[in-house]
Symmetry: C2
Subunit: 221 residues, 2 copies
């Protein structure tokens, strides 16, 4: 095998991924299910933020697909508070692709319209490269991870539809330069709103919930 | 291209990577340069920890290879305090491989014996899969990222020779269960010492420095 073949394999993987993702997107749109691809580094607070948003969306049916390399810790946590969650284990793979999402959706009972949160693998790099059928990408970063993340991991910030800066409660104890962070974001992405929140309190993400509710309304025919 | 070809491409990539990594490892050993592959999620404190260790290794020559998808922020930071640093930009790739390390080493002036720190891409997944010629893997996690990381990202913990739990100064403000964390680590890795440190003070990593110095002494003929 030479480099040409490697490039051909990668091209075919991306093409097949996009084809299936488009089908999934259409299927979910028809069912009036708004799909949110949740991206962020390990330990950034993806599951807790999803939980807080779902609590704030009361009255709107929510589903979760949990992507993890191993373990079903987060799915068990979600189920224990009555959230409908489906576990995907990639057993090593660094991102979710549209094929695993398709088979997860086939295994779920998505009869009621609402919102589907897809928690991607904790990784700021690979998940940003794959469209998995979502309507929006929600990117989470945090004040403890530093203000240089947009400069170091540009694709994730460039493709995000909404950016959450988590762990606001730790702001007094860390060096986080919001101006430098925002300049980095705006150099890549002019549109995505940026919300500073804390997972410590459910009310903290009230603005995020209003924003998502608006997006759901726009999607509906 | 079918799945068989995809698997063949991956097998060839790993074999070629390992062959070059072994050559690099031999070359560095001959030069009495001890190579440390530094792994950890984005924003975990890799560069600051490397800086603090280098300051504590005074008298021992240190080199750094900085792996980033984009930007040379960390290399500039290191150079500004007199540390010899070389930048690799992967332009999207999620890990360093032995070929880029070989070409970085070819471009560096490694004449004096000492320690070479290789800061991998901020990612808990892909970098754990690639041997790049190092003598040890140093894994950094932090109390702000939660105590479930070994359960969710097992390979990185399984392969680590030493594990650093960073951001000890934030321990009073977060939920981090050290017993649960250590049980997860020991289920995967019986040997690697675990050090709880804070990047806020150089003295915090005194024990890590003693441990690395011992390893360097063992390597020498």
């Amino acid at each position: 095998m030479n480099n040409e073949n490697t490039i051909l394999v990668m091209k075919n993987i991306f093409e097949e991924n996009d084809r299936v993702a488009k089908e999934t997107n259409l299927l979910l749109s028809k069912k009036n299910i708004f799909a949110v691809n949740v991206l962020g580094a390990p330990g950034i607070g993806k599951t807790t933020l999803i939980t807080n948003i779902i609590k704030g969306l009361n009255g709107i049916k929510s589903y979760v697909i949990e992507g993890d390399i191993k373990s079903d810790i987060d799915t068990q946590k979600l189920k224990s508070i009555g959230i409908e969650a489906f576990q995907i284990n990639t057993n090593g793979a660094c991102h979710l692709d549209s094929l695993v999402i398709k088979s997860a959706i086939d295994g779920m009972n998505l009869v009621q319209e609402g919102v589907l949160f897809i928690e991607n693998i904790g990784n700021l790099v690979c998940p940003a490269e794959f469209f998995i059928g979502e309507h929006i990408k929600l990117l989470i970063t945090s004040v403890t991870d530093g203000s240089d993340k947009p400069y170091k991991y540009p694709l994730a910030f460039e493709n995000a539809d909404v950016i959450i800066v988590n762990k606001k409660d730790l702001l007094p104890y860390v060096d986080f330069d919001m101006d430098y962070f925002l300049a980095g974001v705006r150099g890549l992405n002019k549109k995505a709103p940026v919300f500073l929140v804390s997972n410590k309190s459910e009310n903290e993400c009230a603005e995020v919930i209003i924003w998502i509710k608006e997006k759901i309304t726009i999607m509906k025919p």
